[in-house]
């Protein structure tokens, strides 16, 4: 019964998608070139993932970690054994079907891969695409779908106050993209939208904001000491640090000599005395 109910639910979603696609088809008949650039062409494909490099050889951690899963098998080339004949009915084996291709909700998400690369994935529902096109009216002609990435470092982004931005034109049908950002230790936000021939930009959806890591030591050499209180009482000083605090002026001197056999990157530097 539940299966039927779930099935009926999916049928409804399917019908909804079907009608949306039907509408798309009708629009396509009239605005085929535009629709193509907006990624409404047949099929959905993942973007090429240009910057993904495969590890040439594992670091020791990976090597040892892989050993945990190493049984001397050839990557499960042999299929898993069949369920035993005496399987109780109360056990569950593989799930039928596959994960949904779409969730029926506009969404754009940014994830940080490393200090220089972001990963974006999105879902843009047919309804939103169509609505955007309609609203553009005559300007829809020649418009292109773009992924606009903003540098919003130290900014409460309102849509027009970013330091700078770049536009990426994803391959039609793409649903994800790797983005080479221009500087580490910065905050980024992105929008999917339509850029008209006249250069106007109509955002359709906005992502979360992410901050990339700093791949070198911080220029901030302020030294501030705090005293951790025993468990449960957090810390001393200020708002959440209500107690002993020792401020040291920033230091500009160089590192101490490195300990034997060590890189000076992580060697201590004596605090100001």
């Amino acid at each position: 019964m539940i299966g039927r109910a779930v099935g009926a639910g999916w049928n409804l979603v399917g019908e909804w998608l079907g009608s949306a696609c039907g509408l798309v088809t009708r629009i396509r008949e009239h605005t085929d070139p535009l629709v193509r650039v907006l990624g409404l062409g047949p099929g959905r494909s993942h973007s090429p993932t240009p910057p993904v490099s495969q590890p040439p050889s594992p670091r020791p951690e990976e090597q040892a970690r892989e050993a945990k899963y190493y049984l001397g098998t050839e990557r499960l080339a042999v299929p898993a054994p069949s369920p035993r004949a005496t399987v109780p009915v109360t056990l569950v084996d593989r799930e039928p079907g596959d994960l949904p291709r779409a969730y029926g909700r506009d969404r754009l998400v940014l994830l940080v891969r490393d200090p220089w690369w972001l990963f974006a994935y999105w879902e843009l529902t047919p309804t939103s695409r169509i609505e955007t096109l309609r609203n553009l009216g005559a300007e829809a002609e020649g418009a292109v779908e773009v992924l606009r990435v903003y540098d919003v470092t130290f900014i409460d982004f309102t849509g027009d106050n970013a330091w700078t931005s770049i536009d990426i034109e994803p391959t039609p049908g793409a649903e994800s993209w790797y983005i080479n950002v221009w500087k580490p230790a910065a905050s980024y936000c992105a929008e999917i939208g339509v850029r008209t021939r006249a250069g106007g930009f109509v955002p359709i959806m906005r992502s979360n904001t992410v901050t990339t890591s700093r791949p070198q030591p911080s220029p901030d050499t302020t030294v501030r000491w705090v005293v951790l209180r025993p468990r449960g009482l957090t810390v001393e000083g200020g708002e959440s640090w209500d107690g002993a605090r020792v401020e040291h002026p920033g230091r500009s001197d160089g590192h101490s000599p490195a300990p034997p056999g060590s890189s000076d990157l992580h060697a201590p530097r004596p605090p100001a005395r």
Partner: protein
């Protein structure tokens, strides 16, 4: 008084691999092998230190999924069956190699080893290895800490903060269930940190966590003591950084101790070397050749012509390596102490399964290190919690986002082979989160359905699956697990949304994916 401290940290983790629907499931061997080769040998080492009253402070992170497997009755029974077959194989080997001086003593070594493992598992601890760890914690030898519920890669789940909170809080609750107190430390899966995660740990009552070296070296403001003192995050949780030198000495198979030519070779195994019909009874039902755990050769060198293993010579090398490790650390703290206003702490985190499974002599080496430390006045073994209690004044700084492993950032877990998982992980978490908020107090059936949906979501979030896809290791299984758990989560959500919960199927899922029995979906509220 010691001039510095050494914090040895072992992170023990396996993904939840339990397949009651199959009589014999290949991947369950990950667990059996780790019990035989790592967890029991570590407990045996602790038993020796306890018996000899050797002062010892060792930190061990036991992931909640591993705790769940160690406590599971089905897996215990299957492990015993596996061990019995291993004993049988070793007995056959002992007979087969009689007359071959070189190999017979190695076969005897394995036989004695497996008898001993069986005695420890069955007779000494009545199959309850969690009780064993708890006991050594109560005796003061170890401090057990926890890890995210299913080893979720937290920075890549943080789009939905409730998902991160569930990973942290379920882990905290499971720890209390097993150990009767709260954990002080939290092992961030893959050492994956991003600013803000510490606030979730603070909220759940944790005192400290670990990051890789560059997490501290690139912290802001710049830490004056580098990785040799913890720093305090804004949330009041302390971050300890990994010492790169001691890490390399132990981690690296080429430059480090485990690559010594006298140590046992990991890859040569009788499962591949001996006649197929002879080893066939000890292979999986599919008949594929796999590792049995009986390996008779030493690393020898960069050659395929491996020489027989010599346990006595390996022991001598382990002793020398233990002395070298401790002496090098003493030299390190000697130098560091001259430049610091507090005693330095050297933090050495390792995957526990490195010891015994990958590096056969690892547990022996570790025991020798701990014994040598006990007799060394200049260097003291501590836990991070000990260090914070003694030296509560910390520099305030925010660690840099970082992970351990290849390249030091998220790429292993976010790259071409695995990036497809995130849209599904996030969508499932959002859907379940929204649904849970609609039912702040659900009836019993809905409560069970939502709690099981959360179990499935957590299982799908395990970083192990992304790791396997990225490393091209058992990819098919990793993909299957990701999809199965998320499909189960989504289907349960649909049933709750439609008010049509399939109770038979729910019960079946509860039996199959049965970890975290005390889990309550309201952790997501």
């Amino acid at each position: 008084m010691a001039r510095g401290s050494l914090a040895l940290v072992l992170h023990a983790h396996l993904p939840f691999v339990r397949h009651p629907e199959h009589e014999d499931f290949l991947e369950e061997r990950w667990f059996y092998e780790a019990v035989t080769e790592t967890y029991v040998p570590l407990l045996e080492m602790l038993e020796g230190l306890d018996r000899d009253r050797v002062p010892c402070r060792l930190t061990i992170s036991l992931s909640p999924t591993l705790l769940g497997m160690l406590a599971d009755r089905l897996l215990r029974a299957r492990y015993l069956r596996h061990l019995d077959r291993l004993v049988e194989l070793a007995e056959k080997e002992e007979r087969r190699t009689r007359g071959d001086g070189q190999f017979h003593r190695i076969a005897e070594l394995y036989l004695a080893r497996f008898y001993r493992v069986r005695a420890i598992f069955l007779d000494e601890w009545q199959q309850d290895l969690v009780a064993a760890f708890r006991t050594y914690q109560e005796h003061g030898l170890i401090d057990v800490i926890t890890c995210a519920a299913t080893h979720g890669f937290l920075p890549l789940l943080a789009v939905n903060p409730a998902a991160v909170r569930a990973q942290v809080e379920v882990a905290a609750a499971e720890y209390r269930r097993f150990f009767g107190r709260s954990a002080e430390g939290f092992w961030l899966p893959e050492c994956a940190y991003e600013p803000g995660l510490d606030a979730e740990l603070a909220r759940a009552g944790f005192r400290y966590f670990f990051v890789d070296t560059h997490g501290i070296a690139h912290a802001s403001p710049r830490p004056v003591y580098g990785v040799y003192a913890p720093i305090a995050c804004d949330s009041g949780v302390a971050a300890f950084g990994r010492d790169p030198d001691s890490s390399k000495q132990v981690w690296s198979a080429e430059e480090g101790y485990p690559g010594d030519f006298w140590y046992r070779d990991f890859y040569r195994d009788i499962g591949f070397d001996l006649d197929y019909e002879y080893v066939r009874p000890y292979l999986p039902p599919t008949g594929q050749r796999i590792h049995t755990g009986l390996k008779y050769h030493r690393i020898t060198g960069k050659t395929d012509q491996k020489e027989p293993y010599d346990p006595e010579r390996a022991r001598v090398r382990a002793q020398a390596h233990a002395e070298h490790f401790v002496d090098t650390r003493i030299g390190q703290v000697d130098w560091l102490a001259r430049h610091m206003e507090r005693p330095p702490i050297i933090v050495c985190p390792y995957d526990a399964e490195l010891f015994g499974h990958w590096w056969f002599e690892g547990p022996l080496w570790l025991g020798l290190v701990l014994r040598r430390l006990a007799g060394t006045p200049d260097l003291e073994a501590v836990t991070p919690g000990d260090d914070l209690t003694r030296h509560p004044t910390l520099q305030r700084a925010t660690p840099a986002a970082s992970t351990w492993g290849w390249k030091g950032y998220n790429e292993v877990w976010l790259s071409g082979p695995n990036d497809w998982i995130y849209r599904h992980l996030h969508a499932s978490a959002d859907r379940l989160h929204a649904l849970c908020r609609r039912y702040p107090s659900a009836d019993e059936r809905t409560r069970r359905a939502l709690s099981q949906a959360l179990r499935e979501l957590l299982l799908g979030q395990a970083s192990d699956w992304a790791f396997m896809m990225s490393r091209d290791t058992t990819v098919e299984y990793a993909v299957r697990r990701t999809k199965d758990h998320l499909l189960r989560c989504q289907r349960l959500c649909a049933e709750v949304e439609q008010g049509a919960i399939d109770e038979l199927r729910l019960a079946a899922l509860e039996d199959t994916d049965n970890l975290f029995p005390a889990l309550d979906y309201r952790v997501l509220l």
